[in-house]
């Protein structure tokens, strides 16, 4: 078995391959921004239609869970960053450790969000539909708020789940990475950070703005 090629055959060098992979992930993230963009726009549009009713929905979210989750994701990106720094210096063990911590924190987020917070939201009757628990003049605005809340957190959670799968894959391939060759770690890192950034935009929209007014 000959040694693994330094780069794939359509590239002229390992450097070329690395640059191309990074360009690719940035472009992909741009499309993801355009995917989440309309949700943020819909949020603005819906709030403008009836700000007080919309915000009344916003006040019913679980602030403590939201804050904890935000901390978890920020810590997770930080851990990933440390893992990436480790492999850039050649330490595979450091990388695996950092990525495992990032994975665990991401999984904790999912558990907290869907296992705990969503369950509480359902129990409080906040899922839009015939059984929506808010009545009176604020009902349609609050319902729209929660429609967007469930929709965007489900979408974000799905992306996070994919991120967890990618992280697990990277960890399983740890043996192949060296200080010179670890493109996949960089690429997945960019994706992971992006998911984090999406959350950082969602967090104030969901938990803070309704409470500020």
């Amino acid at each position: 078995m000959s040694e693994a090629a330094a780069h794939e055959f359509q590239f002229s060098s390992a450097e070329h391959q690395r640059e191309t992979a990074i360009s690719g992930i940035w472009l992909f993230l741009a499309t993801e921004a355009l995917f989440f963009g309309p949700i943020f726009l819909a949020w603005i549009y819906a709030r403008l239609a009836d700000p007080s009713a919309f915000d009344s929905g916003g006040r019913q979210t679980e602030l403590m869970i939201g804050v904890t989750n935000t901390a978890l994701l920020i810590a997770s990106s930080f851990a990933y960053g440390i893992g990436l720094a480790c492999i850039e210096f050649g330490s595979r063990r450091g990388m695996v450790l950092g990525l495992l911590v990032a994975w665990a924190l991401g999984a904790a987020f999912l558990g907290l969000k869907f296992g705990v917070e969503w369950r509480m939201d359902f129990e409080k009757g906040l899922f839009p539909g015939a059984n929506f628990s808010v009545h009176g003049p604020s009902r349609s605005g609050a319902q729209l708020f929660f429609a967007l809340y469930f929709f965007s957190t489900a979408l974000h959670g799905l992306h996070l789940l994919v991120g967890l799968a990618l992280l697990a894959w990277i960890i399983s391939k740890a043996r192949q990475f060296t200080a010179e060759r670890h493109n996949s770690v960089r690429v997945v890192g960019l994706y992971w950070t992006f998911i984090d950034i999406i959350w950082l935009i969602l967090f104030p929209l969901i938990y803070l703005i309704g409470r500020a007014s």
């Binding site: 055959f9 359509q10 360009s23 499309t31 355009l34 995917f35 963009g37 309309p38 819909a42 319902q143």
Partner: protein
């Protein structure tokens, strides 16, 4: 991967099913797509055939309005998302992009294979939707009809389109990165063939607009499943919001459909006029202009929808602006033919047909861009004829032109030229017979999407349906002789047309790695200096 000295053609490089279904070779993936695209073209075409059959009589020969509504909806969905949007990019684009760039493959070959699998999954879901009974909402899915009233398989159709959208985004992403990063040494941006510029512009639109469609369709499904008021006013939503979101994607989508066709024509006209493309830079920047301005005109689908007078005026002005770059291209192609040495092989016949039909379709776009005229013409057969002239008369002709031009390169075989010319002419005649009467029908007031219609429109409908028979024959001919050529066609040389472009420097069909040695580019494209000589060796 080892590079063998004796270059095996990509078709011979592995004969197992596995070697095809797990290939990462862009050329094999192009073939995989070609089979799927051809299937959807004929599936959507069959629906159209049944529609024209129905319209022979003013009472509706199929007997059921529900069936008819589902037929035109599936015709639209299949043709738009499973044929027109992918066609040139995934077949010719996949095959030729690395070859034209002097590269060995696309930037992300495995992503390319994933694109194909996503497309196939989407296709199966779409087929399921069709076989389970289809949808009756039109391909435009207007709410609240779609979200609350339709009894068809809306969610299945939405899922199919959603997945197909991801396939498009992946393909577009792959092309953009490839064109930026994998150009051969010496190939600056202005040395790229126009076909690649067109694919680039197309890919930019794909990656920017498709996510918006995905989101919009998800919201419709959400409303339909959970009863949340996003678009239905009865539960607090806004039906116009849907139209804005939908057309924000779907208008750029039509430029996704036509830009690759422009690229194909820009390769063929110089080759068969043996002359440099007239105004290369203008054509290139016209493509970019179309991509950019194309994002700003979506409101022209809503001139009678209930938007403000002011927005209607702005969109009308922008719609006239977007027509200018297309006009420039037409003039430039004609300018290329001026003082050239014109050959009338099939690709050129299709290309000339394209210029005629696309120009006609484009001019009728001026009619519907004029606000007051659009009020009368919108939602009638006039608009149906307009978009079929540009999409079918234009885009499908360009697709066929490209297939004929690059067939020898892709398959290593020559198709029988006489049959090729016969098909081109049959298609041109059949197309005009089918769709020209529809301009008149529209002016006279016949609405579109009507299962049965007033008696007075019957004669023109009969003429149109007769034309459809001719058109169908024209489309079936290539299916016949292309298949024949695979088994019995004469073997093709590397450059049977004497065209310029790096793809013609490789054998026909090319070896898996395309180029044994990375080529170095030293001149601009389309250097056809002498009447009969082959330029590149």
């Amino acid at each position: 991967m080892t590079h063998s000295a004796a270059q095996i053609s990509y078709l011979e490089d592995g004969h197992t099913l596995r070697s095809w279904l797990l290939t990462t070779d862009h050329k094999r993936i192009a073939i995989l797509y070609l089979v799927a695209i051809t299937f959807f073209f004929f599936a959507g075409g069959f629906a159209a055939f049944l529609m024209r059959y129905n319209l022979i009589s003013s009472h509706g020969l199929l007997g059921s309005a529900e069936t008819y509504n589902r037929l035109f909806s599936m015709h639209g969905i299949l043709m738009v998302w499973f044929f027109l949007v992918p066609a040139v990019p995934v077949t010719l684009g996949n095959f030729l992009t690395p070859l034209m760039l002097g590269a060995r493959d696309l930037a992300f070959p495995r992503l390319n294979l994933l694109s194909w699998y996503l497309f196939m999954v989407a296709g199966f879901v779409a087929l399921y939707a069709v076989l389970a009974g289809g949808v009756d909402t039109g391909w435009t899915f207007y709410t609240p009809l779609t979200s609350l009233y339709s009894k068809g398989h809306v969610v299945a159709a939405i899922i199919a389109i959603f997945i197909a959208g991801f396939s498009s985004i992946a393909t577009g992403l792959n092309f953009i990165v490839t064109i930026h990063k994998l150009r051969a040494p010496g190939m600056g941006w202005y040395r790229m063939p126009v076909f690649l510029w067109s694919l680039y512009a197309t890919s930019v639109i794909l990656v920017l607009a498709t996510p918006v469609l995905a989101m919009t369709l998800l919201l419709v499904a959400f409303e339909r499943i959970f009863g949340i008021g996003v678009f239905d006013p009865a539960i607090g939503g806004d039906p116009l919001l849907f139209q804005h979101l939908f057309w924000f994607y779907s208008h750029p989508a039509v430029y996704v459909m036509i830009l690759p066709g422009f690229g194909v024509i820009s390769e063929i006209v110089p080759a068969f006029s043996r002359k440099e493309l007239f105004g290369y830079k203008f054509i290139v920047w016209a493509s970019i202009a179309i991509a950019v301005i194309g994002f700003l005109v979506w409101g022209h689908h809503m001139f009678v929808a209930g938007t403000s007078l002011f927005s209607a005026i702005v969109f009308s002005l922008l719609s006239y602006m977007v027509a200018v770059p297309s006009a420039i291209k037409v003039f430039n192609w004609v300018g290329t033919m001026h003082k050239g040495y014109i050959h009338f092989d099939s690709p050129m016949l299709y290309a000339i047909g394209f210029i005629g039909l696309f120009t006609t379709g484009g001019l009728t776009g001026l009619f519907v861009a004029a606000l007051a005229a659009d009020v009368h013409l919108t939602q009638t057969y006039f608009v149906v004829a307009h978009f079929h002239y540009v999409m079918v008369g234009g885009m499908v002709s360009a697709y066929f032109a490209g297939l004929h031009f690059w067939w020898p390169k892709i398959t290593g075989r020559l198709y029988p030229e006489m049959w090729g010319r016969a098909a081109a002419i049959t298609i041109f005649v059949g197309f005009n017979l089918t769709f020209f009467p529809q301009f008149v029908l529209g002016y006279l007031g016949m609405p579109r999407r009507y299962f049965a219609y007033p008696q007075q429109f019957e004669a023109l409908n009969l003429l149109s349906s007769a034309g459809a028979v001719v058109l169908a024959m024209g489309y079936l001919l290539p299916l016949g002789y292309f298949t024949w050529s695979l088994l019995y066609g004469e073997r093709a040389s590397a450059n049977p047309w004497g065209a310029t472009g790096l793809e013609w420097t490789t054998p026909s069909p090319p070896p898996t790695e395309n180029f044994a040695v990375t080529p170095i580019v030293t001149q601009a494209p389309y250097q056809y200096e002498q009447p009969e000589a082959v330029i590149h060796e």
